[in-house]
């Protein structure tokens, strides 16, 4: 073998090894995890693919330790894949024994006849779960025509996270002003160009921003929060009419647009990585959710502080949802008994769930949280009870979201005017509602 040929082969081998190693390193965390060796195995699907899934798995580990005879196989699947997978599993007659989706989707899944009536688990019908201890308005979300089809695990929703260091550098105490003008003024102070001029300065270079006051993260939920602040909603109370092109909606979206293009305190949303930018000290106030807690704590060089959602409209208001345990309609026997044990155990140990950043669904647990350990759960959780709005409940909520979300993106990325985007969204949403009456 010539020297050149030998070098080529060695180089190829090194490349292949590097390639294989990088593939192995990039392998995702296992989505399926088994807990316990008990004889009754229950399968449990959920979409908690962030740090909240880690917390839940820790809880399940403890559950099987304390519950001989039951073992649990969890499958964590991102939400976008979980819904199609649930459909096919139900059609194939092989659904999981228990699963988690959101309260806003209970009506949709119930309309397909998938869900078991869980009235018997609550004290109002002879069970042990104390109905009065579940926080409203989140608890309402599990009911369809007065029947509960789920057990809430938490309330999770929108707030903001301040980079305290950037606030201090601007001489501002971290807080959320209660009117739009003051909010803009604060965010302008926190937005700096590459020369150190803030966005209120006449010399501010909007084309070369080094530090943003805020940014857009999950546009759909923030838009809904601001829409509620203006007194609107995406659909009418009877659920039959789309109302997303109302004056309130136009005002809410216009103010979001103004933060980007008029006041230059937020970047265009598309292509902007809000979490990494916050971690890199490039954003002072990121609008995000309760689930941000562990990410924020992982950034040890940044002092973070959870705050309520920004107030863009005349009244406070924030979006929140609820993760809910549900049981397939056909589950019976030993497996049903094991699933009930698991749900009751997790519900009784919701204090552990606070470690995920989410707000436990039970009021007694919320009240027992240590403010030193769980400041974000308490600060943001309080806003859910004071002025929170549970995600709109509809038999077609997933399709409504799919109709609205891209139009909001079009408006905020200057692809469409605000009116056109909301009119187009309204037209599609009305078609969805008409089909699902």
């Amino acid at each position: 073998m010539s020297k050149l040929k030998a070098i080529k082969y060695i180089f190829s081998l090194v490349l292949l090894v590097f390639f294989a190693q990088s593939m192995a390193q990039d392998a995702p965390e296992p989505v399926v995890t088994d807990f316990g060796t008990g004889g009754t195995l229950i399968s449990f699907w959920n979409g908690l693919s962030g740090s909240d899934g880690v917390t839940l798995n820790e809880m399940l580990g403890k559950f099987v330790e304390e519950t001989p005879g039951v073992s649990v196989r969890t499958e964590i699947i991102d939400w976008g894949t979980l819904y199609p997978k649930l459909q096919t599993a139900f059609v194939a007659g092989e659904p999981p024994d228990v699963f988690i989706v959101h309260a806003s989707e209970v009506a949709q899944f119930q309309s397909y006849g998938m869900l078991k009536d869980l009235s018997y688990l609550y004290d109002t019908n002879g069970g042990t779960l104390p109905s009065a201890d579940f926080a409203q308005p989140g608890f309402n979300g599990v009911f369809v025509d007065g029947v509960p089809y789920g057990v809430p695990l938490d309330n999770h929703g929108r707030g903001t996270w301040a980079n305290v260091g950037l606030f201090e550098a601007a001489g501002i105490e971290p807080h959320i002003p209660n009117n739009f003008d003051d909010l803009v003024a604060m965010l302008q102070q926190l937005t700096l160009d590459v020369n150190g001029n803030n966005a209120a300065s006449a010399d501010f270079d909007a084309a070369n921003v080094a530090q943003w006051g805020t940014c857009m993260e999950w546009i759909y939920t923030d838009f809904e929060s601001y829409l509620w602040q203006f007194g609107g909603s995406i659909i009418s109370e009877d659920g039959k009419t789309a109302t997303v092109n109302s004056e309130a909606a136009i005002s809410a979206l216009q103010r979001m647009h103004d933060l980007i293009y008029k006041y230059h305190v937020s970047p265009e949303p598309a292509g902007f990585d809000s979490w990494q930018s916050w971690a890199g000290g490039k954003v002072a106030l990121v609008p995000t959710g309760t689930w941000f807690r562990n990410f924020a704590e992982d950034q040890t060089d940044i002092k973070g502080q959870a705050l309520p959602a920004m107030q863009v409209g005349p009244n406070p208001g924030t979006w929140f949802g609820s993760h809910v345990f549900m049981i397939p309609a056909g589950l019976e026997g030993e497996k049903l008994a094991a699933v009930e044990k698991m749900i009751l155990w997790v519900t009784d140990h919701q204090a552990m769930w606070a470690g995920s950043g989410q707000v436990p669904a039970r009021i007694s647990v919320q009240e027992s949280l240590d403010p030193a350990l769980y400041p974000s759960n308490i600060t943001i959780g309080k806003t859910f009870q004071e002025y929170g709005h549970l995600e709109v409940v509809s038999k077609a909520i997933l399709e409504l979201q799919a109709a609205l979300d891209p139009e909001l993106g079009s408006a905020l990325n200057n692809q469409k005017s605000i009116e056109d985007a909301l009119n187009d969204a309204n037209k599609r949403m009305q078609q969805v509602l008409d089909r699902n009456q």
Binding site: D26, P84, V91, G271, E399, N413
Partner: protein, 310 residues
């Protein structure tokens, strides 16, 4: 023995039926094909007809009643702005990706095919390697490479004085960016096909051209490219069929955004069937796409597909 033979002598011996060699070979071929045909029938042909059937129904997967609605799904499709937008995006993506992939693959094949190039096998493997990766790996890798703030592409461009480009967040750039990703991922296979095509061109033609004083450019345009026409037809037809069904890249890299700027037909089909649970409408999208692909395939045969013999 003798007796036995004698006793049979008076009877007519039945003629043994023998299959001809051609028939036996044909039968053997079909036997070998049988497993594939069975699987193809169950998972492709049956599924295709089932999808066509579903497209005439209001078919929500979990609803027990699935009413027949005739052509209503197709009527809705014709009036659906998002469908036309997705079709336009898909056509744009397919055209630039097919052209880009063919050009890069041909350039790579020509470079590797040069007689003076050392280590052809090594480069062949090296350039083919991206094709081995899954769309998930490719998508996530390129999301980071093209990241506006932290991506290496913008970092390298900054040395040329170019300001950060919002590759995946700009409505005008997102399809070219997805196309760029796809070209990098997929040019390895057509490169191998082009290499095979190049090696099939008789050397005498090049010798004759050189004796006649033809320059390199003339040789390429007058000999190489015309004689690669069958290869080019194969690559463009299969590439177009594949790229018209693009899904993984927009699903992983942009989720169809910004707005709906990178909605493709299959992405929209996924949204309709799996997010809105409307299998009937999703099937109508699939059937319409199949006809469109057939139309464009025939068009390519018409314009590129003249038979070349040498």
């Amino acid at each position: 023995m003798q007796n036995s033979e004698s006793s049979n002598a008076g009877k007519a011996v039945p003629k043994r039926y023998r299959l001809s060699l051609k028939t036996r070979e044909t039968l053997a071929a079909y036997l070998f094909l049988l497993p594939f045909i069975l699987l193809f029938s169950v998972f492709v042909i049956r599924a295709t007809f089932y999808a066509i059937q579903m497209s005439f129904f209001d078919w929500t997967i979990l609803k027990p009643i699935k009413p027949f609605i005739g052509l209503a799904n197709y009527k809705e499709l014709i009036n659906d702005d998002v469908w036309w937008l997705a079709l336009r995006n898909t056509l744009y993506f397919s055209i630039i990706t097919v052209i880009g992939t063919s050009a890069v693959a041909l350039a790579a094949a020509l470079a590797i095919n040069q007689p003076k190039v050392k280590g052809k096998e090594f480069f062949r493997v090296l350039l083919y390697m991206p094709s081995l990766l899954s769309v998930g790996v490719i998508g996530l890798t390129w999301v980071w490479l093209l990241n506006t703030q932290f991506g290496i592409v913008n970092y390298l461009l900054s040395f040329l004085g170019i300001r950060p480009i919002n590759w995946l967040g700009n409505a005008n750039l997102v399809i070219p960016a997805l196309s760029l990703t796809t070209i990098w991922w997929g040019f390895g296979f057509p490169m191998l096909i082009f290499l095979a095509g190049l090696q099939g061109i008789p050397e005498q033609l090049y010798e004759a051209a050189r004796i006649d004083g033809a320059r390199t450019g003339q040789i390429f345009w007058r000999i190489t490219l015309p004689l690669l026409r069958p290869t080019l037809l194969f690559i463009t037809v299969t590439g177009f069929i594949a790229h018209f069904q693009v899904f993984g890249q927009p699903f992983i890299m942009t989720r169809g955004g910004p707005g709906r700027a990178s909605y493709t037909v299959i992405f929209y089909l996924y949204e309709a069937a799996w997010r809105a649970f409307r299998m009937g409408y999703g099937s109508a999208i699939a059937v319409a796409l199949a006809f469109i692909i057939i139309f464009f395939t025939l068009l390519q045969f018409r314009f590129i597909g003249r038979r070349v013999e040498y």
